[in-house]
């Protein structure tokens, strides 16, 4: 039941990615191209997602525990360090080069395009590099 719920959750998220335009690198890169062919649509994607998540999270957290787990696992670290800033800066550079981010590329894999598979394999390669250059104790990643 838990795994079926996870599958349905992924389907809802992925459908949102597809409908919103996040799946299309041309649209994503145009959002960042303020000096050129600017397309503000992605601001609306973020707006729609934030409205629902902001309210929805607070309703869910009224419960004492999730449906299929013992407790909520939410990152609590307030640490602002060079890993956070440097990692985020790098992520933005990669996003700007390829036009895909992981949350858009995973559903995009369902279109069967080889470019998406190539991107996700490369992302996974980046995970391995990160573990190699900067091994850390297990921590909650968002």
């Amino acid at each position: 039941m838990k795994y079926l719920f996870a599958l349905l959750t992924g389907l809802v998220f992925g459908t949102g990615i597809a409908i919103s335009g996040m799946m299309d690198p041309a649209k994503v890169l145009n959002f960042f191209d303020i000096a050129g062919t600017w397309d503000l649509s992605l601001m609306f994607v973020m707006g729609g997602a934030l409205v629902v998540t902001f309210i929805g999270y607070r309703l869910v957290w009224r419960r004492t525990q999730p449906l299929f787990e013992q407790r909520f696992q939410v990152p609590t670290s307030p640490l602002i360090d060079s890993r956070l800033i440097g990692g985020s800066a790098l992520f933005g550079i990669g996003w700007g080069i390829a036009g895909f981010c992981p949350g858009a590329a995973i559903p995009a894999l369902g279109t069967g395009r080889w470019e998406v598979a190539l991107f996700l394999i490369s992302v996974t390669g980046g995970f391995f590099i990160r573990r190699w250059v900067s091994p850390t104790p297990k921590q909650a990643t968002t």
């Binding site: 459908t15 973020m46 999270y57 956070l84 800066a89 470019e115």
Partner: protein, 143 residues
């Protein structure tokens, strides 16, 4: 290349993205961060950790098929980046998002909704570097 401004579809799609994030919190008590989900599936500590993530990923991958079944067309996907740029961008995305503990979904949607201080720093950072990168590629190097 110009793309059409789609405020309604984008807002509606965004709401579904948010619904997915809320469902994962309701069901499994987890943040919907695509980077964490993907790396957690690759480096899973046990069978359960891997299975729920793979189920979630499978659901995401089925989405374009659902769109195709309903509308008769796959979602638009136009790639201008060369294979080399896709690989370079992908590796940097994987390295950066795991170092920074999150990407657009984890920090952008879930983190900002939680008013996480780390996400409030991360999101403007990656938005800025993405915009600078696109500016350099398109307007300085003329890609």
């Amino acid at each position: 290349m110009e793309t059409a401004f789609t405020p309604l579809m984008s807002f509606g799609g965004g709401m579904l993205i948010g619904l997915g994030a809320v469902m994962l919190m309701l069901g499994l008590g987890r943040i919907f961060g695509a980077t964490g989900i993907l790396s957690g599936a690759v480096f899973a500590e046990n069978r359960d950790e891997m299975t729920w993530r793979l189920a979630l990923i499978l659901g995401m991958i089925l989405a374009p098929g659902l769109i195709f079944a309903v509308t008769g067309a796959m979602p638009a996907l136009t790639v201008h980046a060369s294979p080399a740029m896709i690989v370079i961008g992908g590796v940097i995305v994987g390295l950066g998002a795991s170092l920074g503990s999150g990407c657009t979904s984890g920090h952008g949607v879930c983190g900002l909704s939680r008013l996480s201080v780390r996400s409030l720093v991360a999101v403007p950072t990656f938005m800025a570097t993405a915009a600078i990168t696109v500016f350099l590629i398109r307007h300085v190097f003329g890609g």
